[in-house]
C-alpha cells in the first residue's frame, strides 16, 4: 500500500470518528478496506484512495471510516460484569425506578452481542423483578455492523464464544446452519447509528451505559470528549461500564470509580460545578 493512501485513510478515521488507526498495521487496513473497495467497484485500495481524493463523497468516506472502526466482540464478553449487572445493578435499579423504565445502552455494540447479552439477562429477570421495565439500546458507528446486529443472526462459531449452551437453546432458534435470537429477545433491543464523537446532547438519559473496548481504539483527545459526553447522559445514580482493564481516572475528572467494581463508574457530582 502507498504510504500517502494509508495517511489519507488514517486521517479520515481520526477526523470523522476520533479513531486511532496505527499506520504501521497495513495488514489490518488492507483486510478492512480491500473488501470495501471490491464492493464499491474499485480495482483495489489505491483506486479507492484516488476516488476519495478526487470527489470527497461523504458516503464513501463513511464507508471507509466504518470499515476501519469495525470491532470484534463476543456474547457475555468478560462474564463477571454481566453477573454484576444481573445480580446487583438490575435489582437495585428496579427498586429505585419502580415502574419507570430502566434504560441500558450498549453504545459501541458492533455486531450486537453485548446488547443481546443484556437483553437475555433482562428477559431472564422478568419473573424475579416484577414490574421492572428494562429497555435496551444498541448503537454503533457502522451501518453494516448495525444491520447484522438487527438481524440477530449469528454463525455457529459466533454463538460458541462466551454463550453458555443452555442460553443458546433458550434464546435462539436454529436457522439452517446459523442461529437467530428469538423474536422475544430481538424485540427488546432498539438500534440506532451513533457516532460517539458527534453531538450527543439530544440522546436523553441512560441509567447504565456500556462503553467497553472503545476508548482504546480512539485517539487520546477524543477519549476525554467521549467519556465526558457519556457522563453527561447519566443520572446521579447511573453507571458507566468500561472494560475491566480500562480506566477513566487518568482521562477525566467527570467520573468516579465504584469501589471494588473494576471498570464501573458513576458521575462525579463536583465535576460540573468545577467546570
Amino acid at each position: 500500500m502507498n504510504p500517502a493512501d494509508i495517511e489519507l485513510f488514517v486521517a479520515l478515521a481520526r477526523a470523522r470518528a476520533g479513531l486511532k488507526v496505527d499506520p504501521a498495521k497495513t495488514y489490518l487496513i488492507e483486510s478492512r478496506l480491500a473488501p470495501l473497495a471490491r464492493r464499491e467497484g474499485f480495482a483495489g485500495i489505491a483506486e479507492l484512495a484516488t476516488a476519495l481524493r478526487a470527489n470527497r463523497d461523504d458516503k464513501l468516506i463513511w464507508a471507509v471510516v466504518e470499515a476501519l472502526a469495525m470491532g470484534e466482540t463476543d456474547f457475555f464478553r468478560d462474564r463477571a460484569v454481566f453477573d454484576t449487572f444481573r445480580s446487583e445493578i438490575l435489582p437495585t435499579l428496579a427498586r429505585l425506578r419502580g415502574a419507570a423504565p430502566i434504560k441500558v445502552w450498549s453504545c459501541a455494540c458492533s455486531s450486537g452481542q453485548e446488547a443481546y447479552s443484556l437483553a437475555m439477562i433482562a428477559e431472564e429477570a422478568v419473573g424475579l423483578l416484577p414490574g421492572a421495565q428494562v429497555e435496551i439500546y444498541g448503537s454503533d458507528i457502522s451501518e453494516r455492523a448495525l444491520e447484522k446486529a438487527q438481524s440477530g443472526l449469528y454463525t455457529q462459531f459466533e454463538v460458541q464464544r462466551g454463550l453458555p449452551i443452555r442460553r443458546l437453546l433458550e434464546h435462539f432458534d436454529k436457522v439452517e446452519d446459523n442461529w437467530r435470537l428469538t423474536p422475544r429477545i430481538r424485540q427488546r433491543v432498539r438500534w440506532r447509528r451513533v457516532n460517539l464523537v458527534g453531538d450527543m446532547t439530544a440522546m436523553g438519559q441512560f441509567d447504565v451505559i456500556f462503553c467497553r473496548y472503545v476508548l482504546a481504539s480512539m485517539d487520546v483527545p477524543y477519549r476525554r470528549r467521549v467519556l465526558e459526553a457519556l457522563s453527561g447522559l447519566l443520572p446521579p445514580d447511573g453507571l458507566l461500564v468500561l472494560g475491566p482493564q480500562e480506566t477513566a481516572e487518568t482521562i477525566t475528572q467527570a467520573l468516579q470509580p465504584v469501589p471494588g467494581r473494576a471498570g464501573i463508574y458513576v458521575r462525579n457530582p463536583a465535576f460540573r460545578a468545577a467546570a
Partner: protein, 121 residues
C-alpha cells in the same frame, strides 16, 4: 494437574483436542469409543471428559448415562463435542448429564470458552 479424557473415534480430532487442552493445563488420556472410555474411568476417574457423540461400540450419550451410574461417576464434568447441532439432540445430551456442548468444528477459543462455562478453568 487436572485430568481430561478425550473420547473421539477420530485420531486427528483427538490429537487436535489434546494439544489445545494441554495448553490449558490438562493432563490428557485418550479413548476411541465409549467402551474404551468406560474402562479408563473405572481405572482412574478424570476431572473432565471431552466427549464425541457418534462412535462405534458405544456412543457418547450411552457412555454418559452408564458413567453416571458408576461409583464416583458423578464426578467428571462432561463437555460434548459433536457434529450434532439440532436443538433437540443437544438437549438430549444435556439431559444425560453433560455440562456444556461444543458443535464441531471447534478451535482453541471455543474449547477454552466452553471449559470455562463448565467450571473447569
Amino acid at each position: 494437574m487436572k485430568t481430561c479424557l478425550v473420547v473421539d473415534d477420530s485420531r486427528v480430532i483427538r490429537k487436535v483436542a489434546r494439544r489445545i487442552l494441554e495448553d490449558l493445563g490438562f493432563e490428557i488420556a485418550e479413548a476411541a469409543d465409549g467402551m474404551e472410555a468406560l474402562a479408563w474411568c473405572r481405572a482412574a476417574m478424570p476431572d473432565a471428559i471431552l466427549l464425541d457423540w457418534n462412535m462405534p461400540m458405544m456412543n457418547g450419550v450411552d457412555f454418559l448415562r452408564q458413567l453416571r451410574m458408576e461409583p464416583q461417576g458423578q464426578g467428571p464434568r462432561v463437555v460434548f463435542c459433536s457434529v450434532e447441532s439440532e436443538p433437540d439432540r443437544i438437549r438430549e445430551a444435556l439431559d444425560a448429564g453433560a455440562a456444556e456442548y461444543i458443535m464441531k468444528p471447534f478451535d482453541g477459543d471455543i474449547i477454552g470458552a466452553k471449559f470455562a462455562e463448565a467450571g473447569l478453568l
